[in-house]
Symmetry: C2
Subunit: 309 residues, 2 copies
């Protein structure tokens, strides 16, 4: 039984991780400022003796005791959210990460940083393995997130070398079954607005999505391994965005046409994780098939829309 | 007459900039924590009514009033210095830059960030123009500096867009005539240890050096221009390190042999700035010829060695 801190624990990935760790019998403290997260995502645990929810912004120092593991997930994650206030995104990923590393150092905890495939930018090699240096525009509209996460990795690396703070990183795009409705990510848009499927550009740009339960299992095994370097957790099954649009159109039985909008600036053209390292060192790979993941997501959003209505 | 703040003003570039701005009749405040800088570099101004020296670390907030321009230079600059304490290097470039941008925003000052050619990493295009995205290892030994400066650029960009803080960036390698003797940069080493010229690797890796007076003139014209995007200030004259070693061997009349040591990790193989933007927008280009700059540097170090003896 471990004492576990999850920053961003009221968010999409964090709340699923909370569920898993609580079910496994651990003590879980969630720290969140509710920028994109919702209390509703974790409210079923409120009152449980192993659970604590702290309304706190990681840009401010956090002094708590008795923590064994820190899953550091606090950060806006989708383009509209991280571009909403780029300065704040930068502060969260730089000062916020320094604070959590300072905490990890003081209490002797292990830290896992949720990084992102965006550290590879608009990649020039395929698939992207962990030692790829990336292709990122430092002063473009995505830079607050991409460069913020890159330097957060650098910080983890520096604390590990200098202060022996364990760290790990992670992740690729995930299929979001509890994404906040306002979060304008492609799958959410396609599913929720199935009567109005909008594709930015030609739709030939690719992405690879994993279902959140796969990701959460990967995070937990990474945290409990001895690996202290970046590990891609993702689904190597890559598809053009237009194909996702068509697939979803079929699955939801939508009769609408697909509308093409102008391309987004600096939109990465290809994304596909090389996950051989995770397979080799963690014995991990995604097991939920794409169609099953999409169906669960569609189901989730239908219920969500009913709830809102 | 302007009220000017120079962070890192007791360092190599900063003290030359201080000299120029004081001679031009401005009010100059130097902020420095003396990590690599020396009081001696600016002591000839102490007591002057237009000059103030504040012993302060930019990682801590700085509340001062009445500032028109901020030259933000505070950061260790040479590999041994920035690798000495990577965590501190990261804090200086992230929190330190946020603090100076916060100050600039509050007092309505314009800010110029001294960036570095290292944001281009080990470049894959030559020469490097300002729109090159770079090729940087986020978790290598140089990352604390490279990624720190990259995200500092991103921060400037974000404050400019969101808060209308003017910003500029800059710089390529400079020939250091007042570099602290302990700072192990290649030219300094070659000149000071001319009896023991040590080349890391084959010496085929290239660099391009400019003399500090050229750089200082470039910084001042950039600050007073309307450009608010990165501008390379450097000398496009590129030479292999081995050639520098031979040239200096001749200039100092050293009789020693050149010794070859193992290659340094992640050592950029080529460096050469494309300075067309500076020429076009600022009418700036370096004017001090390489040999003249080297001779001044050698002269400087001879006096420095006498002073130390
Ligand atoms: N979902 C994905 O596809 C994906 C892909 C790659 C990386 N990630 C990373 O995984 C992590 C979680 O992403 P998510 O999809 O769950 O996003 P999310 O927006 O649902 O969750 C992020 C959580 O962090 C909180 N937060 C943001 N700033 C904070 C601050 N300053 N202080 C405290 N809390 C703060 C938010 O309120 C939210 O609850 C992020 O770090 C993200 O970069 C996610
Ligand atoms: N000299 C070059 O060839 C070169 C090339 C590219 C970029 N630069 C950039 O130019 C700037 C100046 O470089 P330099 O060659 O004069 O180096 P330097 O080491 O001589 O000067 C840096 C100054 O900053 C001060 N400083 C460091 N950390 C500080 C902190 N936390 N708070 C306050 N002061 C702090 C140091 O004490 C020193 O006086 C740096 O930002 C560097 O990255 C220099
Ligand atoms: O329990 C802790 C310990 C540190 N910190 C923060 O983490 C940062 C980095 O910690 P570190 O020990 O590296 O910094 P220092 O205090 O030595 O500057 C500090 O600035 C603190 O604000 C925190 O939030 N909680
Ligand atoms: O309604 C939408 C939303 C997104 N996209 C595209 O889908 C891809 C994935 O976008 P998302 O916002 O999910 O995140 P990203 O993977 O770019 O971080 C990108 O190429 C977007 O341009 C789209 O075509 N329609
Ligand atoms: O005169 C000032 C104003 C701000 N700051 C620092 O600059 C940072 C960023 O400023 P900003 O106004 O963006 O931040 P906020 O205070 O809104 O978080 C703050 O955290 C302060 O520590 C400073 O050092 N001097
Ligand atoms: O005594 C020395 C010092 C440096 N170098 C090489 O000279 C180049 C410039 O090194 P410097 O430390 O000046 O800074 P950098 O340009 O790498 O930031 C690099 O390729 C170093 O490996 C060398 O051969 N001998």
């Amino acid at each position: 039984r471990k004492r576990i801190l999850i920053t961003g624990g009221a968010g999409f990935v964090g709340s699923h991780l909370t569920d898993k760790l609580m079910m496994d019998g651990h003590e879980v403290t969630v720290v969140d400022n509710f920028f994109t997260g919702r209390k509703r995502n974790v409210e079923h645990w409120i009152g449980h003796e192993n659970f604590e929810l702290i309304n706190h912004d990681v840009v401010e120092p956090l002094y708590i005791e008795a923590v064994d593991q820190i899953y550091h997930l606090a950060s806006p994650a989708s383009p509209p959210n991280y571009m909403y206030n780029p300065i704040k995104t930068l502060k969260t990923n730089t000062i916020g990460t320094l604070n959590m590393l300072g905490l990890a150092k003081r209490v002797g905890a292990r830290l896992l940083l949720a990084s992102t495939s965006e550290v590879y930018g608009d990649p020039e090699v395929h698939p992207q393995s962990e030692d790829y240096w990336g292709h990122v525009n430092p002063i473009g509209p995505r830079a607050c997130y991409d460069e913020g996460k890159r330097v957060a990795e650098t910080m983890c690396y520096a604390y590990m070398k200098q202060e022996s703070v364990y760290h790990h990183y992670t992740l690729f795009n995930t299929i979001p079954p509890s994404q906040a409705l306002e979060q304008l990510r492609v799958i959410v848009n396609f599913v929720v607005l199935s009567s109005l499927l909008q594709v930015y550009g030609s739709g030939s740009q690719t992405r690879a999505f994993q279902y959140v339960s796969d990701l959460v299992n990967g995070l937990v095994s990474l945290m409990n391994s001895n690996v202290s370097s970046p590990v891609n957790l993702g689904n190597p099954e890559e598809h053009p965005i237009l194909e996702f649009a068509k697939l979803i159109k079929n699955l939801v039985g939508s009769i609408s046409e697909i509308q093409f909008l102008p391309e987004a600036q600096d939109d990465p053209q290809r994304r596909r994780p090389d996950i051989r390292k995770a397979k080799l060192l963690l014995g991990w790979e995604p097991v939920v098939p794409l169609e099953e993941g999409l169906n669960k997501t569609i189901h989730f959003f239908r219920k969500e829309l009913e709830y809102q209505a």
